[in-house]
Each structure stands twice: as structure tokens, then as C-alpha cells.
Subunit: 431 residues, 2 copies
Amino acid sequence: MKTFNIAIVGLGNIGLEVYKNLLHNKNNIFNKTGFRLNIYKVSSKNFSKKRGNIKIPKSLWEKNALNLCADKNVDIIVELVGGADGIAKKVVFSALKNKKHVVTANKALIAKHGDQLSILAEKNSVNLLFEASVGGGIPIIQSIKQGLIANQIKQIYGILNGTTNFILTEMEKTNSSFNEILKIAQQKGFAESNPSADIDGHDVAAKISILSSICFGSKIINKNFLVEGIRNIEIEDILFAKKLNFKIKLLAIAEKINNKIKQRVHPCLIPTYIDIANINGVTNAIVVDGSPIGRTVYEGPGAGKGPTSSSIISDIASIMVGNDDYSFGFSPKSKKNYSLFDFSNHESKYYLRFLVSDRPGVLSTITSCLAKNKISVESLVQNPNNSYSNIVIVTHASKESSIKNAISILAKNKKIFKKIVMIRVRNESNL
Amino acid sequence: MKTFNIAIVGLGNIGLEVYKNLLHNKNNIFNKTGFRLNIYKVSSKNFSKKRGNIKIPKSLWEKNALNLCADKNVDIIVELVGGADGIAKKVVFSALKNKKHVVTANKALIAKHGDQLSILAEKNSVNLLFEASVGGGIPIIQSIKQGLIANQIKQIYGILNGTTNFILTEMEKTNSSFNEILKIAQQKGFAESNPSADIDGHDVAAKISILSSICFGSKIINKNFLVEGIRNIEIEDILFAKKLNFKIKLLAIAEKINNKIKQRVHPCLIPTYIDIANINGVTNAIVVDGSPIGRTVYEGPGAGKGPTSSSIISDIASIMVGNDDYSFGFSPKSKKNYSLFDFSNHESKYYLRFLVSDRPGVLSTITSCLAKNKISVESLVQNPNNSYSNIVIVTHASKESSIKNAISILAKNKKIFKKIVMIRVRNESNL
């Protein structure tokens, strides 16, 4: 009976948690897989760094991770350094070339080099698995690749970032501004001191690039698609949305339409009666629409060392039981080079908010500009303040290019203050 | 490269759908697994039965399914006959003994003979998979066995029957009686002409028996646990629950408490703010609580030929890629013989409804009887009609045995009409 020798590269929060869980769960994993595992080596820049109450025997330490990739005793390399390039990239490429299975949580690396890496894994008859890169503990990649293998996926969408969902939830709950809640999120450890990757949507962009490739058998599309974060969402927008029976959520969405991939990350208005609208706090939720299965939803903690280590160990166990599936669920050879849907052709309803003076006068300017751009108004709410008022319009289904055009014209009007807020409304037929 | 020869036993709705999907998806499955499959044979009692527009070549037909189990060319037997015993049992036992992998949707068979069958599968080094037996298309078994392999599962619960969830949803939506909606469900094909298996909870009981064994590594507990259906839920109860901010759902629940399995199926009041309370119609949803992952939720279509065939083909593909996992996620040897939690020690809040005459007089009788049984009242709602009135009480956390005792005493009171309604309230800390 084979014992699997595991090398953990990177001993941050997640690496330590994986170390601890593998150690404590050795017998469980044996009972559940029929195979033994052994933590053969760990690697980190600095061995003597304090690591709370976790003591790692010095004999396990290897300073140079690349030595582990070439070590004939190693079966599985667990890469937890992070980053699209640098040492993480070197380790993963080297491990695969040396016929080591690789498990990683590194979404940046996979979104950037996943196609190339999966070809290398295939060539060397080893696995490259990255369940922890998307959706934290939720077994979403495995569910799509294996549970839904019989399906043609039509679309996938969801809430893939806990930080931004926490911020949007708390803004509504406490009637606070984005900046106030961002500070709290940083204090609670839900947001980084440099929060850009989360709040500007880049984290989610990498995740939907990965999921989209897995769902549609497409080569990874990791650039030139629409990525908007939540930095410009104001409490007013959340409250107006609520009045109109919507919630604002940062959604990642990927669809296959006529052999093009329509892939994007942006805030959306979703009707409150939809399950996804009620996913609060740091929870993630992903909807997959396929045929013949229909709509399935996967919900759970989207980050944190416990959930992330759960996914990493699931990948390790999958390798141990001989689950020889493709990294992206399709043989690299069969992956298609689909092009990106031209988003200026996107159609949906739009939420627009204008901060104006001289309400009666400017309203007719706005509506006539919208009409000239073939945008018709579904509903209109006004909220007068002392010195200015908000005009909120939800349009009927309109073209992105028309909306952009109308906004650029109206932005020049001196009676409209600040930036005009535009948030897309998710088409109900897609929910 | 190996081609897998598949034999489908049973050509009902599901069998035909699997046949059709395998045929249409051969290339997809090759692209996704790297292996070819071949529908080698099909078996049904009667070959010439009309099967819509699906034409199966007569050369594929084998009347006696047991011949397929002994056929050296067959790799995977897909059993879709159904039933805990009879031909289904014979086929699955014979297939495993003959070293054929088995995929089945048969929850009755697995709940009854699963322990024995999984030992046989292990002994013969083949897989026995039954994703389609629980939760229709939702990849719940695979998610627990593999996605959550690193976790100690604390509890699993959910809505596992589409028929009863449809009935409860529609009763509320249309303010109708159980019997009225049952008829509609039967017309729509959501309920059988003999609906007992669904509405009395037996279908769900088999499913939770299977899930419980998978979650806790326990031998299957398939009897002597509490199974109550929804036959006695009246529209009044749904409306009173609504007034109290609850929904009534038929839940299957399994927990591991001090090495005992607390497993049950019964209607529950759930606060409306909980996601599971808002799962409507024929949709199923399952919550799994584990450590270190936390709470994950899996939602999707719980029945129907499309979703069921999706799960069956997922199992077939899992075998094709060499995923050699245990049937119940634990090696048969390691499965424990946990005993069942004594449900008379169960504690929760209870919803009680009394139909009474002479309200003031009987109310004091009720409350004093409750007090004598150490049951304290959390809230009380009355709804007077012309000739009788409903007294609805939600208790504080009380013991099942005390409630049962109080009900048996009060049932003898002549001012209390009909059967006293008792529905358990799900503990919020478990939601």
C-alpha cells in the first residue's frame, strides 16, 4: 500500500493550517482513502519564524523549495506561496516537470498560467488541482468537473469574494459609508491593508477566469473583460436599491453565447426574492446552470484558513484515491479558443443615479437624452435634499453602448453633480 | 486506451434518459475523462414497449439482466430497476460478485443493503456509487465524500423531497388544503398516485440513512428512528407559522452527539430569515456543518429524469477516471456501529395548536398542564372563529418526552377538539 509523501511549500496561515490538519487527520484520511500520507518536508524562507503553538520538527525543513520538486521521494507538492509569478510559478512548473502532483490555492498563478500548466501536468501524467483557488471551502471546482460532468454549462455566476460581500452587507445593515465599513473589515481581518485586489474586483476576476474555463472548456480568458469593483457604491445606492426591492451584489458572471464567452465582474442589482440576493457577510455562493441538470447552487465560507485547508486536503485526497481527472475538466487538447463577447453589445436594465440641482429642469434633460439614445425608463425615484436631489432611474433593457453614450453626454451637464452612478441590473431570466 | 462497456438495467424514464445522454455525450465524456464509453447492452423485461422517439437497436437488448452481470465484456452495470429487493438486489449483488462496477439510483436498496454491498464492492475491488439516490442532480454525496473529506461532520440536514416541499410551498401560496394541493401535485407528475412514500417521509428516511452513514462513518441506521411526514400539516399551521415568522418544512436531520447518531425526519418550523426556509417548490437543499470548513449548502433540482441522469453519468465518469473511493466515504472496516440517540431526550421549542371551545376556561387547563410538565410558554396566539378557536403556543426549549406526556393528557380533555397539532421548532443554533 502506497504512502504519499507530501511537501508543503509556504508556511503562512494556510500552510500551517494544512500542516496541522494533515497531521491530526492522518488516520481519518487513511480510513477515508485507504492510503497513508506522510508530511515529508516543509519549505519556507525562514524556519525559525514564530508560528504560534505549532512546532514543526527542524528535520522537515527544506529552505530551497526547488530541491523538493526534484526530490524523488516527494509525491505531492502543495504550493501555498501565492502570486502569479516568482517562486510560486517556478515551484509549480518545476514540480510538474519532475512528475510531482501539484495542489495549489494560487488563483493568480492558475488564472495566468493555468493553460500552460495543465498541458504540462497532462504531459507528465500528474494532477494539478486548485479547488482552494475559488470559493474557499466550497467544493465548486470538483462539483463542476465531476458532479456536473454530464452537463453542458450555460452560465455560472455568483458571489466569489467575501470581503466585498461583507462590506455591502454591513453598509446596508448599519447605514454606513463604504469607507467606514472598509475600515471595520480591515480591523476584523476581512480586508487587506491594501484592499485593492478585493474591492476593485481583481480577485474575483481571477476566480471567474478559472471557473469559466472549467465550465465551457475554453482556454483561460484572463484579460480584456469587464472588471468593476465596489469602490464607487455609495450607501445611497444601496438604500435606493432596497426601496426598489433590489440588493446590490458584486457578481462574477460567465456565459457561453454562440461560441463566445461573455465574462465579467461588476456590481449588480438583484431582486431581493432571489436566493443569491440574501447571501450575506463573508459567505460565497455560486449558481451553475446546466443542461440537463438545471440550476444548482453552492454556498459556503469563501475564505479563511479552515475552509481553504479543507479544499486543499480534498485535492490531496483526490490524488491519493487515483482520481485522474483533468485540471480544468477537459483534456488540454480539446479546450477551445473561444473569443470574448463584445460587451458594448450587452443588454440589461440599468440603475442610474444623478445628483442634480434644479430638479424639474434637469429631469427633462435627462429623460430626453435617454430617449435619444433609445433608452426607455421603467421606474423613477426622486429624493430631494436641501441643496440637491437624487434622481434614480431604472431603465428598460438597453444596450451598454447606448447607456455609456448617454452618460458621457449627461456628464457634461453642469446641473448634474459628481459622477453619474450606473449599476447594471441582472436580467431576471438569468437568475 | 480503455473503452468502458456499460450495461443499463431498467429502461424506465430514467434508464432511457441515461441511454440518450450517454449516446449524445460520448465525445464530451471522452474530452472530459480521456476515456471512451460504449453502451454495450440494455436490459428490460419487455423490449418492444413503446419508448417515445428513442429507438434502441434490438442487438443491444438482453432480457435477463443477470446474464450481463456475468458477461466478461461488461465494465459497469447501471441499475435503474428500483426497489430494495427483488431483481434490483439480485443484479447489484451479482454484478459486484462478478467484479463489475455498479452505479445505481436506488435509495431503497442502498439504505437497506448498503453496508453489505459496500463490503462486497471493496472485496472485489470495484466501485459502488449512488449519487442519484439522494438529492437528484445535486452532487451531494461526492461533495461530502471528497470535497469535505478533511472535515469532521457535525450535522447534515435539509429538504430532501421535492414532492412534499412543493405541497408545502403551494399550500401557503394558494391558501389551500393539503389534499387540494396533493391532487395538483399528482396531476403535475410531482406526486405518485400512491403518494405515501413521499408524504409520509419514507423516501426522505432512506435518503438521510444514506447521508448519515456517509457523514459520520457509521453503519447504516435504517430503522427505529423518528419518521413523520406532512399528511397532518394543515393550512392553519402554515398560516400561524407565517404569523410567527416561521416556515414549515419537512426536514431530514442527522447529527452525531457523543458517539450517538441523532437521526430523524419530521416537519419543522424554521425562521423565515434562514436560507433553507426559502427553498420553494420541488427544489432540494442540504446543509452540511463540518470542522474546519463550517457551513456549506447545496441546492438544486431534487428529482426528474434530467437531474437524475446527470448524477448517474457523473458516477460513471468517476469510475472511468479511476476515482477509487469508498462507497460510503469510509473503508467498510472503519465504519462504526453507533447507536441511535434516544429521541425522548430531544429538546427543542415546540409549536402546539389546540382547537378548543370555551377559550378562557380551556386556556388555563392547557397552560397549567404544560407547567406541570415543565414546559414554559414562549408565545401564544389565538384565533377565534365562530364556534371554536385555535390556540397556538410556541414553547421554550422542552423535552420531547414532556411534550408527549402533556399532549396525551390534554388529548383527553373534551374541550379540545381533533388531534392536537405538534410541530418541532428547529433550534436556531443548529441552522
